[in-house]
Amino acid sequence: MEAAHSDVVIDVRGLNKHFGDNHAVRDLALTVRRGEIFGFLGPNGSGKTTSIRMLCGLLTPDSGEGTCLGYDILRETKEIKRHVGYMTQRFSFWEDLTLRENLNFIARMYGMTERRRHVDETLARLKLTERGNHLAGTLSGGWKQRLALAACLLHAPDLLLLDEPTAGVDPKARRDFWDELHALAAHGITVLVSTHYMDEAERCHKLGYILNGRLLAQGTASEVIASQALVTWAVEGEDLAALAATLRALPAVEQVASFGNVLHVTGPNRERLKAALAPMMDEPRRQWREVEPSLEDVFIHLMRDADLKEELTQ
């Protein structure tokens, strides 16, 4: 119970999970502090969902140890479930129940008293009151996600585990959702959220990048960016498509990404990149400037790196 009063909400080490031959999560170590919004990033199938399920007691790790809200993740899963709000990747409420019925049911599952009041309050808080008697199945994506968040918050959890909560939700609903998350964090609720969106990653206090079951980078967005020491040049001007093809052939260039009228050229080595780009920089019809690498550049770099390492080991 000691950790429950301290600042660390999630503290796990050496978590492993296998599904048959698939080593889904490898030696996961994670520390998340109270009131933090921790972004969990990584490509599909990298082990994000498995990690989240292990944290909330839905899956038992094959090995490893640690605590979640001060409770042992192996032995005290019941207590963890009681204090965690878990939002599944897929909408997983009962479409043939109304919003109110769904929330009332969840409230019962948590053994809550004064259910009616709690349900009313939660509906009001997420501006769902008007739709309380609609069937959940008739809601559009954004409203479904709001219902899911409402159900997660109903039992006043200390930790939210959100598995790609904003997939398929429009930008306005996403922004509202993130504002809500920040408001919750300000009240001391810890949030661990997995996402594919870079703008969402930037809204997190801390990030973790997981790939093939391995946590490859962890820290604030700028720490993660700095840790990979990438160099990025932005180029604007004419005929970028042809330029992109030329650039991709250069060994010093690792990534070429188009952002509308701008091309980002990224490489791991400052000197070699500069030397490789130098001939093209003299052309007057394009403008070059060095910019800070984006999170996306860093993540793609991490993916390539891992692929290379895998090729080398094989």
Binding site: L58, K81, S92, E95
Partner: protein, 378 residues
């Protein structure tokens, strides 16, 4: 290539369908399994002219004629002599429990009256709950009366043989004297309907949660597996009881099926039967990956239940191996219970021996089911 029908496009659709069939192993198994099972069951197991029906005797006259008659019975392909009943209570009980399909009663003065040429009557009591099981045997018995004493009635007794036979066989079709098929089928349908709905509905109820992803949500709450599983099946117990009541009411009102036994006994046995079927549905749901598979498993169980339980065809018409499979199915025992209670007026002493196999089935299935439940959580 026509605008209305492109052969290549059409081939594409056919090809895709085959690929998907190949991937769905269970469906593929069903495609092969169902015809094979049906063929074996219909081909080998089912016989609408059952022979070797267990027959007991109540003998009050130990004369030589009695011996000849018993010997004749033993030689006939329809009757299988299983032994002598000590008294009328025992012979009644043999019929009630289904141990004997027939009881032959030879009255005390049988030999004497036969010799006197009085054409005495021999009583053949039949358990006629299922008219199709006894019909042919009863038809054959009159033939038997004419030939069985051929060796005994020689010399001075020869005239007794006559054209009408030396004795008469009085057939007493017990429980269903008018041989009304509905009396047999309608109570049986209760079991069939319960098997179908109980197994399928629980199977679907739980795979539906898994298919829609709501199960994950449920298990992320403090709800325990026991709460979830039992909580989900209780409504179906209620539905089962409603179905039973509905069938009973209609059986009585529409078909005039008699209710000779105690409804309390019947309902208690129904509860055991429902429980056994629900556990099977639960186990199917933990094995099935989606609702379609749960449905297919239900049918795979339902088919032999219908055919081998004695619902559609006389149980005793089947070869031993098929009867052994039948004995393992809860429906077989439930049919005996429900027909016994309604038509024979059976009570606990006759019902319990048929109820514990149902309970045992449930226990075995839940033991298998619990092992798979654990693995589905992880």
């Amino acid at each position: 290539m026509s605008q209305w029908f492109s052969f290549s496009r059409w081939l594409g659709i056919v090809g895709k369908e085959f690929i998907q069939l190949k991937r769905d192993r269970l469906t593929f198994g069903m495609i092969v399994g169902i015809p094979v099972v049906q063929l074996i069951l219909f081909g080998f197991a089912i016989n609408s002219d059952p022979k070797h029906l267990p027959t007991a005797a109540l003998i009050a006259d130990r004369g030589e004629f009695s011996r000849s008659i018993l010997a004749g019975l033993k030689n006939s392909s329809y009757f299988e002599y299983i032994g002598e009943a000590a008294n009328e209570q025992e012979s009644d009980r043999m019929l009630a429990t289904g141990k004997a399909q027939f009881v032959v009663t030879i009255p005390a003065d049988f030999s004497l009256r036969l010799v006197r040429g009085e054409r005495p009557a021999l009583l053949l009591e039949a358990d006629a709950t299922d008219p199709s099981a006894t019909g042919n045997a009863i038809a054959a018995v009159n033939q038997l009366a004419q030939t069985v004493l051929a060796h005994d009635l020689t010399g001075p007794l020869a005239p007794l043989a006559g054209s009408a036979g030396a004795f008469e066989i009085r057939v007493h079709a017990r429980y269903n004297p008018e041989a009304i098929t509905q009396y047999n089928i309608v109570p049986g349908l209760m079991g069939v309907i319960l098997t179908m709905t109980m197994v399928m509905m629980t199977g679907l109820a739980i795979t539906r949660e898994r298919e829609r992803g709501t199960m994950e949500n449920l298990l992320a709450t403090p709800a325990t597996v026991l709460e979830v599983m039992t909580g989900k099946i209780v409504p179906y117990v209620l539905i089962g009881l409603i179905q039973v009541t509905l069938v009973l009411t209609l059986a009585r009102l529409l078909f005039g099926v008699p209710i000779h036994g105690s409804l309390t006994v019947l309902y208690l046995a129904v509860l055991v039967f429902i429980a056994a079927n629900l556990t099977l549905g639960l186990t199917f749901s933990s094995l099935a990956r989606n609702q379609l598979q749960a449905m297919q498993m239900t049918f795979f169980f339902f088919l032999p239940s219908m055919l081998l339980s004695g619902f559609m065809f006389p149980f005793r018409g089947m070869p031993n191996w098929a009867q052994d499979i039948g004995e393992a199915l809860p429906l077989t025992h439930f049919l005996r219970v429900v027909r016994g209670v309604l038509l024979k007026g059976n009570g606990w002493p006759e019902v319990i021996p048929e109820t514990w196999p149902i309970a045992l089935f449930g226990l075995v299935v839940i033991a298998i089911g619990l092992r798979t439940f654990r693995s589905t959580l992880d």
